[in-house]
Amino acid sequence: MPSFIHESLLWWGLPLVGVPILIHLINLMRHRRVSWAAMEFLLQSQKRHQKSILFKQLLLLLLRMLAVAAVVLMVAQPLVRNQWGAMFGGSKTHHVVLLDDSFSMSDRWADTSAFQQAKQVVSRLAAQAGHQDTRQVFTLLRFSRARQLARGTQPDLLQEPVDANFQAELEKVLGPLQPSETAAEPQDALDAVERLPAKRQDEDRVIYVVSDFRAKEWQEPIALQKALRRLDEAGGQIHLIDCVDAVHPNLAIAALRPGAGTRAAGVPLLLEVAVRNFGAATAKQVSVSLEEDGHARPAVVFEDVPAGKLVTRRFPVLFATAGEHEIIARLQTDAVAADNLRSLVIDVPAAVDVLVIDGDARGQDAFFLTTALAPGGKITSGLKPLVESPRYLHDHPLESFETIYLLNIARLEPAEVAALEAYVKAGGGLGVFMGELSRADFFNEQLYRDGQGLFPLPLAGPAELLVDRLEKSPDLEVTDHPIFSVFAGERNSFLNTVVVSRYFAAQKNWNPSPESGTKVIASLRNKAPLAVEGKFGDGRVVVILTKASPLETSLGSWNNWGRDNPSYVVAMLEMQSYLSTARHPDSARLVGTPLEVPVDVARFLPQVRFVLPRSGGGGTLAVDAATSQTGHSAILNETGAGGIYQAQLTGADGSQRAERFAFNVAPEEGDLHKLDGPQLAARLEGIRYEFHQAGDINYSPQQLAGLNLSESLLYFLIAILLGEQLLAYACSYHPSAKGGAR
């Protein structure tokens, strides 16, 4: 027995079936009267054809009534359950709507947006589910909440019965919904469906993925394929509903980060801003307006951003005071707004502490290095070197130092080695210079340890670089490494005048593998490595295999670099920048990721007040600190909006301490390239699903779950009308072509 989409129309329409009878009766009354002489022949004809005429007339009347009935039924849209529906014969249909609210859904065009389309689709699906005879329940889950489902968060609607009040309830839920600024993925949502209460035997489950089907997620959807196949095999009917009509051009600020260099108050720092063009045409004269601590700065203008390319520009900033500073970059409005804004919080200390451990008590090496790093006088580098003996490593905490340098070390105690390794592992930067006191055995056994230690290479021992009078090439050959890149392209580089007489040779046959992260960044004229970079834990180690000081030693002078050669100062400052970068990872926090703030309960109350950014609605939120593996910490999960979050800690003495954190959107989400139906079909081969455009969702879920007979009825109606015309012609009810009507 079919059901009807517009069942009420039946009550109005079916009485119309009697209309042909009514017309027939009216026609009987409207008979023309003719006084006729030749009745004899007329009666003869009537007598002869009476039966066939009556039969034809009845048939004609029947056909006309059928035609009216067919029109009424067609408008009422009868449905019969499709094979799936018949197979499971469910008494309940569970509509699971997965609503993409990643910020690419904020894609705007004309006077609508992808998310607005999606909300309309959800509304229409729900409205028409209400017309179904059987029991209907509705679940609405946003992509951005899907991942949190495992943590106990509930979907927006969970198995809500679709009754008379449901539409109003749904509008209440849908109304305030806005696209999140997260890059929530369909994978999480599909996985979340499996975490919903299991499908019952008598339940039909229809899963709608209401999304924009961006290429970056669906280009190679191996995991999505698996998830969809699981849902398909579990008996769910899958409908993919596309809410975007076309790809719209979009620009995104892909990055806003500090460049290499010392971050200290009063020291100029280069910041980098990168713009990616996701459109199909080159964007010209792209202006990025900047704001520093709430004050506008001159905008950075990009002449050209070619299609699909990322273009980076640097701009200098000078923070006069120590502390946290905010930088905000904004693009002009385009299709997607969320990725037009990027913020950065940069913590600038008054000065950067650098620990210099000199193995020689006279401190000659330390003198040259510290002079290079902090020349004093009017020039400020922001660095504050502290020269100490090796014992300092064991006795004092090292975390506060940006970098540590080991100069001409003879040996270290195991505790000192352990402290140093812990420091580097945690992201510290270590620079090592060799010297006449250095012993290859110590380095190999304690620091290198067959590649397990922090030292990047095994040493053979001190060596002398033979002077070849005929050889005109410089002693120092550098690679394109950040430390030396400043010299790249310079003619008559001062590096060329560096003379290296002695160095520590690496062991023969030492050849670092590319995966280890260890590489030679500068070598000597005889191809022996002079500068080697290695990674240890999160930190970096750079080893210069000669002395920091150019002064004479018991073995003679090792090099002339530090003497009268400006490249020494430059290279040392670059090395300092490079090593300190590890201490400042580009901590781009993504919206949607929890913000964990460690709380030292000995000093602060175990509650953190979070001030949310204005774009996230503003306001404050108090979160109690909970015990975690690393101590106490307060975790803020409500980081759905981009901007700057402030965590306020209250000291036991009532003092306040605030920390700020910049949360930005994932710039890749701004890539609006999408897949259309056929492209999607090619990637989801073997999975039963139906693909729809949002505009096509004018039909009911019943249609999705069943077969609409309207089209068949249309053909039936055409056949009836043709038959009616033929029969009417045969019955001579058509006016004759010639002679005209009388």
Binding site: N27, L28, R30, H31, R32, R33, V34, S35, W36, A37, A38, M39, E40, F41, L42, L43, Q44, S45, Q46, R48, H49, I53, K56, C731, S732, Y733, P735, S736, G739, G740, A741, R742
Partner: protein, 299 residues
């Protein structure tokens, strides 16, 4: 409108005036000799005795001969008049039908008036009988030109009403016009055929030259009605509500059979027959028929 204008159309008269109506069979003629006239009259000299045959008027039986010989003989005298033509005009209810400017009655009367004019013009005697189921009006035969008015008046006062009963009418006519003459029957012949043919045969047996003008309307011949129609009988209280187009084929078939039957019946009895449509121009129809009849006579 005076009756003479109603039924005498100048254009029709003008067209047929150059023709004349001649008897195909032998009639007596003394004026210009255009009619051979073997009619036996009463007022002229005795011609012969003839053995009585059923149907002969008993008044003509010679009782003296019967007394002598015990046989029935009728006396026959030589006729002393010219051609005597009688117009038999059907004025029954069925003649009232007409879809064009003239109904069958008017058309028939016009034919009758035209022919009367023609006959009077050639000095023949013309009489007229208007009938339905009985004889409504009877105008005696005269040769005076002024007699035309009497005929036209008689036709005009005979409004169609009753049904037709031809057999008895024709019998009556045969009896009341014992002299051979020309009998022109103008009717739609929507009557019982057996009676019609019997009547015609009787007239022929009496030696009359009989002409039949069968007048039918276009609609009766073509039946081109459309749309739901209720047909109501003009002579009988019959009616039929139907879709005429559905019945057209059967109607035309039955009509064809009827026309064929009439034509054949007339031919068998030696009656001249002409089917006239009311839409046909009267003069053309009459002229064509009279020319045709002259052609036949020359043979």
């Amino acid at each position: 409108m005076p009756a003479s204008k109603r039924f005498l159309h100048p254009e029709a008269i003008g067209r047929i005036a150059r023709l004349d109506l001649r008897a195909r069979y032998i009639v007596e003629g003394f004026l210009s000799g255009i009619h051979r006239s073997p009619y036996f009259g009463q007022s002229v000299e005795f011609l012969q005795h003839r053995e009585y045959t059923p149907g002969d008027d008993l008044r003509h039986v010679d009782w003296k001969v019967w007394a002598k010989q015990d046989r029935y003989y009728v006396k026959q005298f030589e006729e002393d008049t010219n051609l005597r033509a009688t117009l038999l005009v059907d004025v029954s209810g069925s003649m009232r039908y007409g879809s064009g400017p003239m109904d069958k009655y008017e058309y028939g009367c016009t034919i009758a008036a035209s022919l009367a004019y023609l006959l009077l013009r050639q000095q023949d005697a013309v009489g007229c009988v208007a009938f339905d189921q009985s004889i409504r009006v009877k105008v005696p035969q005269r040769t005076k030109r002024s007699h035309l008015n009497a005929i036209v008046q008689a036709l005009a006062t005979s409004a169609p009403e009753e049904k037709t009963e031809l057999q008895s009418i024709l019998r009556g006519v045969a009896e009341s016009y014992p002299r051979r003459g020309l009998l022109i029957l103008i009717s739609d012949l929507l009557v019982e055929r057996v009676g019609l043919f019997k009547g015609l045969r009787l007239l022929r047996q009496h030696g009359h030259d009989v002409l039949v003008f069968h007048v039918l309307d276009d609609e009766e011949l073509d039946f081109s009605f459309n749309g739901p129609t209720r047909f109501e009988g003009l002579e009988l209280p019959q009616h039929l509500a139907c879709n005429p187009r559905a019945l057209r084929e059967g109607y035309l078939e039955a009509l064809g059979v009827y026309l064929e039957e009439v034509r054949r019946g007339c031919a068998q009895d030696g009656v001249d027959y002409a089917l006239l449509r009311t839409s046909q121009p009267l003069d053309a129809a009459l002229a064509a028929f009279l020319s045709h009849r002259q052609g036949m006579q020359r043979k």
